[in-house]
């Protein structure tokens, strides 16, 4: 009843090709953005912003990048943690060695650094496919882990291997309090999400999806596999690199290479799979699920009033996490995004059942 396209006529190609052709969609997105920009900073506690809001935004950006690679182009990559690290350390080196560079430029340069490394480690995808590629990308992960531990130039000579940044400002405004950090991340993520949405709607996104579905047939009709695969790696690594730089600068403040280890890569892959492969909204759903779940599980015994040792609570968190992953994969293998789009389809027909 509410979500119908009745009466919405498009009179130009431009109107027909817009990013949200249904008016209710446009309104919904604007309302969501308003809530995110205005309501959340006013209503959420500092702890919620720090522990949930900011990690959610940054990891959803990383998941978005990974989704472009895995979901849209079909190249499984387990090295995303390493690319986040490259982004973070590149941005750190720019920030520390070139003091006049603005923060946003440093972050974007971090993304470009990750792009270069991503292209390098994406070259094997031209020859290797499927699970073999997944494990081969682990080479990127471990090598990058090692490089940042061992090569002192990357950490600006820090004897402990740990680096930190402070005094972040954008156009003279400080990025210190959780609210400021949250708004900064939100602005960046909104821009990147829009960019991603447009990318996958355009011809490059279609090339990626063609490579994912049937790469031989795609090559036959003239889509260049080299171009498609490497551009997927490049764009994906850029997103992931910027996310990594944000993670280090805004969320952690001080980090060591272990912050971007293989657990982070698995976490991102979980977000993408649970959220839904091949869906921009799915990345956000997946990130929300994976960020909120461990915190809820950690604190659930306290709410339920069950006295539990932290060890048992940790173990149970692992068990429930694993069980939930399996449960979700059984119930909806296409992820939360499919649940959402099914809900929307039902909403179009509401209140009629079919």
């Amino acid at each position: 009843m509410f979500y119908r396209e009745n009466g919405q006529f498009k009179t130009s190609y431009r109107a027909d090709q817009q990013i949200f052709p249904v008016r209710q969609d446009r309104i919904a997105v604007l309302v969501l953005l308003a809530l995110a920009f205005i309501a959340v900073p006013l209503l959420a506690s500092e702890y919620l912003l720090r522990a949930v809001g900011i990690p959610f935004l940054i990891l959803s950006l990383a998941a978005l990048g990974l989704n472009l690679l895995v979901g849209y182009c079909g190249q499984v990559s387990l090295g995303s943690g390493g690319f986040m690290a490259v982004g973070a350390y590149t941005a750190y080196n720019v920030f520390v060695r070139l003091p006049g560079v603005p923060l946003v430029v440093a972050l974007l340069l971090g993304g470009l650094g990750a792009t270069a490394v991503g292209l390098l480690f994406g070259l094997p995808s031209l020859r290797i496919k499927g699970l073999y590629l997944a494990v081969a990308t682990l080479a990127a992960q471990f090598f990058i882990d090692w490089a940042f531990l061992r090569i002192p130039w990357f950490t600006h000579g820090s004897s402990s291997g740990s680096v930190n940044v402070s005094g972040l400002t954008v156009l003279g405004l400080p990025i210190e309090t959780p609210v400021q950090k949250y708004l900064f991340c939100l602005a960046l993520v909104a821009v990147f999400a829009l960019a991603a949405r447009n990318l996958v709607r355009g011809h490059i996104g279609r090339a990626w999806m063609a490579m994912r579905d049937m790469d031989v047939a795609a090559a036959v009709i003239g889509i260049r596999p080299v171009h498609a695969k490497l551009s997927a790696f490049a764009v994906s690594s850029f997103f992931v690199g910027v996310a990594g730089a944000l993670w280090g600068f805004v969320h952690l403040g001080s980090w060591e290479p272990a912050a971007f280890n293989i657990d982070r890569s698995f976490q991102l892959l979980f977000m993408v799979i649970i959220g839904g492969l091949g869906s921009v909204a799915g990345s956000f759903f997946g990130a929300a699920f994976i960020v909120v779940l461990p915190i809820v599980l950690d604190q659930a015994p306290a709410w339920l009033g069950l006295p539990m040792s932290t060890a048992l609570s940790s173990h149970l968190t692992l068990m429930v996490f694993g069980a939930l992953i399996v449960f979700f994969l059984i119930v909806e293998p296409h992820g939360l995004a499919r649940l959402w789009s099914t809900a929307r389809e039902k909403l179009r027909l509401w209140p009629f059942p079919h």
Partner: protein, 443 residues
């Protein structure tokens, strides 16, 4: 209702519950000591006894009436030795129960991350026996307290002990000393001091990193076999320690020539190697295994006899259990000292506790009264010196228990102080912190 929609509704309800409950609690009338522990993961074997000792000491203090009547409340948070979980625990606990008094992260990595946050949140960071070596300079590191020693002290004492064994520092010339270290901020901390000492005395320093978690050490020990160093220094944690001893046995390197730092010298590291670890030496951070100490008897009588102890009875008195007791004791004594200035019997804020840590004076009389006689040496901190004491000794595993095998050795402040000052100055320049003046210290 289909299964899917039920599951979706449950999830939504859980999220709503989560959102409402993730708020800070109302202030309480107790002194809150958060406890960052790791009872799971690759470092659990060493984290568990420490956490038990830590928790038991607070229970003991409460059983005796608290800190001048103020009861202690403690809450554990599992970090798994991971820096990001440690930061998350910090954020979650810092405002609970009226505000955290002091944080003891038990991880150099987490210490580095929290050092950035505590000046804003005004909560002191107590890092006895670990943390940033430069933080002994209290004029720059206002909120960090590596009381009882840090890694440069450890490395220095080890080199002094080795020199003593050889018959003098000049006998070290030409010898080979290899450091096998955990590839993390913790393991890398002693390297600057070891390099300094190597330059001074002319011994060859070899460095072999071991990647987390440290179960893959075959190549490291084959390298040791190739280089045949005179001594091996072990800077490991968790499973890395026992693996090192097992690999040393498998490659035939004499355990008597191995010297571990105080985090690589406890029962979990040697127990399952048993006789194979006989002769292995390690540093003792003031205390070793102290089954006869008065505080241990108190804990057994007051808590374990009444079934209120944390952890198994056999663990009480072991090395890491004592470390936990000692760390908790330092936290409590700092608050007690703060109460002398800001009001006896009142709950201390983080800032007030910080003053307490900076003016801690534990003389022999006080240590005896606390039950730590023979376990620790007297210490006193000051504005410029947040370390308080720089003595340590060596103990050796005889196959059954740890036995002290050296006298007390004092780290050479002539070497460490300038290095600490230089490191602190670098930190101050990077962070644009001005060095505190002695006048500021009086406030």
């Amino acid at each position: 209702m289909t299964f899917k929609s039920m599951a979706a509704a449950l999830a939504a309800a859980a999220c709503a519950l989560a959102a409402t409950s993730l708020q800070a609690q109302a202030p309480a009338k107790e002194q809150f000591f958060p406890s960052l522990v790791y009872r799971t993961g690759a470092y659990a074997p060493n984290g568990v006894p420490f956490a038990n000792g830590f928790a038991d000491y607070f229970k003991l203090v409460n059983a005796r009436g608290g800190i001048n009547g103020v009861k202690i409340v403690s809450e554990e948070c599992e970090t798994g030795y991971a820096t990001d979980k440690g930061v998350e625990c910090y954020e979650r606990l810092k405002a609970r129960h009226g505000g955290a008094t002091v944080f003891q992260p038990l991880s150099t990595g987490i210490t580095l991350a929290l050092t950035e946050k505590v000046p804003t949140d005004k909560i002191p960071l107590l890092t006895p026996g670990y943390g940033i070596s430069g933080s002994q300079d209290g004029l720059v590191y206002k909120w960090n307290f590596p009381i009882a020693g840090h890694y440069w002290v450890a490395a220095d004492v080890l080199i002094q002990h080795l020199a003593k064994k050889e018959g003098g520092f000049d006998k070290l010339r030409g010898k080979k000393i290899t450091l096998i270290y955990h590839d993390s901020p913790y393991g890398k901390e002693p390297i600057p001091l070891l390099q300094e000492r190597a330059k001074m005395h002319g011994f060859e320093l070899g460095l072999i990193p071991v990647t987390h978690p440290g179960v893959e050490q075959k190549s490291a020990w084959l390298q040791v076999r190739q280089n045949r160093p005179d001594y091996v220094l072990l800077w490991g944690w968790g499973v890395m320690n026992s693996t090192a001893l097992k690999e040393a046995q498998a490659t035939g390197y004499p355990r008597e020539k191995m010297y571990g730092v105080w985090w690589a010298g406890a029962e979990p590291d040697v127990k399952d190697v048993g006789e194979g670890a006989k002769g292995y030496n390690a540093l003792a951070l003031q205390h070793g295994a102290e089954p006869n100490a008065k505080v241990v008897q108190d804990v057994l009588k007051t808590l374990h006899d009444k079934d209120q102890g944390t952890g198994p009875r056999e663990e009480v008195g072991s090395v890491l259990y004592m470390r936990g007791l000692m760390s908790a004791m330092l936290g409590v004594e700092g608050v007690r000292r703060a109460q002398e200035r800001y009001g006896r019997g009142k709950v201390m804020s983080g800032e007030q506790a910080r003053w307490g840590f900076e003016n801690l004076a534990l003389d022999q009389k006080r240590l005896d009264a606390l039950g730590f006689a023979g376990v620790m040496r007297p210490l006193s901190t000051s504005c410029a010196d947040h370390m308080g004491v720089a003595w340590a000794r060596v103990h050796t595993w005889d196959g059954q228990k740890w036995v002290f095998s050296s006298d007390w050795l004092q780290a050479d402040e002539m070497i460490i102080k300038p290095m600490a000052r230089a490191a602190a100055d670098k930190y101050a320049t990077d962070k644009k912190i001005t060095r505190r003046t002695p006048e500021e210290c009086q406030s």
